[in-house]
């Protein structure tokens, strides 16, 4: 089976993550959707690394992981700060900037 199958799998995971970000109102669940999208991109990078026969793609996936870890830390800190301010983690509640 060709490694291209993993690229299709990555597409499926990416779409599920994107749908979760669009659908869910719980901030933490939407954030997990973002994580799933990043992981799908990683899977595509590793599959392309296998297709091309070089490990540069794996190094890129490693960088994505590091950036995702930093992003999770800051994002969850923002969720905690919003929760402290208004006792909710719903994405629809903070709507002060709405015109």
């Amino acid at each position: 089976m060709s490694p291209m199958a993993f690229v299709y799998l990555a597409v499926v995971l990416f779409v599920i993550g994107a749908a979760a970000v669009l659908l869910r109102r719980n901030a933490i669940v939407a954030f997990m959707g973002v994580e799933l999208m990043l992981n799908a991109a990683n899977l595509a990078l590793v599959a392309f690394s296998r297709i091309h026969g070089t490990i540069d793609g794996q190094v890129m996936a490693f960088f994505v992981m590091v950036v995702a870890a930093a992003e999770v830390v800051v994002g969850l800190a923002i969720i905690i700060a919003v929760f402290r301010a208004r006792q909710t983690i719903s994405l629809d509640e903070p709507a002060e900037l709405k015109g």
Partner: protein, 261 residues
């Protein structure tokens, strides 16, 4: 080449738990399912010749990131209900259509191109990855180190709450309570100076009156307390001893020896 059984196992291990993101109700269930997805992706990485990334995936994602998610879920309360009211009308269908459109677009684009996979597999062993990381990509590694430090400091700053007023001492708290009219000393235990030291018998003050606060509020809510007057009535007239109202919990009968005393 990759065995189809292995591929379909990985696909089932990743896609089915990932669907919980769309359909599961409780955030904790979703988080645990995503841990399953991460493990499936680690297996996929090892299959594709990246054992180092597979191990890093397990360590970083299932070990650190998803645990952090679970921590935050516990911190904000696992019973945070998701409101089902739609703020934007038709958002659900627009989201489904958008996701389906994205899937069609990506799959059409990928199926257009044809890659000939390299004959020999790649070696993603740690030493090969490290050789590349610390030669060609060493500047990126340095920048990522700075990014991680910045993220850690940023999280600290964002979750830090400064103390708005100085901490009140125990002396100030007690003074406030007494000025507000509270009893300055501890409440008496139930049964103190009473004839019976069961938990449902109020303590007696020096004048012999029962102190209501000495009995637990839980017993009062359950109507399992005694007033105390029946005990005094039994003292003056032993024939009234049996006539006390039945209460929820059984109390030892006062023995005759105690009455004689």
């Amino acid at each position: 080449m990759i065995s189809p059984v292995l591929f379909w196992s990985i696909a089932a291990l990743t896609v089915i738990p990932a669907l919980s993101l769309l359909f599961a109700r409780k955030a904790v269930h979703i988080a645990v399912s995503i841990i399953g997805v991460m493990i499936g992706l680690a297996v996929a990485y090892v299959t594709l010749g990246a054992p180092f990334l597979g191990v890093v995936q397990i360590v970083v994602y299932t070990g650190a990131v998803m645990m952090l998610f679970l921590f935050v879920l516990m911190l904000v309360g696992v019973d945070q209900r998701e409101s089902l009211k739609e703020t934007l009308t038709g958002q659900r269908w627009i989201a489904f259509v958008g996701a389906a459109g994205l899937a069609i677009l990506l799959i059409a684009a990928i199926s257009e191109v044809a890659f000939e996979p390299a004959e020999e597999g790649v070696s993603g062993e740690p030493d090969a990855v490290a050789m590349l990381l610390f030669t060609d990509y060493v500047v990126v590694i340095e920048i990522l180190g700075a990014l991680l430090i910045t993220a850690a400091v940023g999280a600290l700053v964002m979750t830090h709450t400064p103390r708005l007023r100085p901490r009140r001492t125990q002396q100030e708290l007690q003074r406030e309570r007494v000025l507000a009219g509270a009893n300055p000393v501890n409440k008496p235990m139930p049964g103190v100076y009473a004839r019976h030291n069961a938990l449902d018998v109020p303590a007696l003050d020096p004048e012999g009156k029962p102190i209501d606060e000495s009995v637990s509020r839980v017993l009062e809510a359950r109507h399992q307390t005694t007033e105390g007057f029946e005990w005094r009535a039994a003292l003056t007239d032993p024939s009234k001893k049996k006539a006390r109202p039945a209460s929820g919990i059984s109390k030892p009968e006062p023995t005759d020896k105690e009455d004689e005393r």
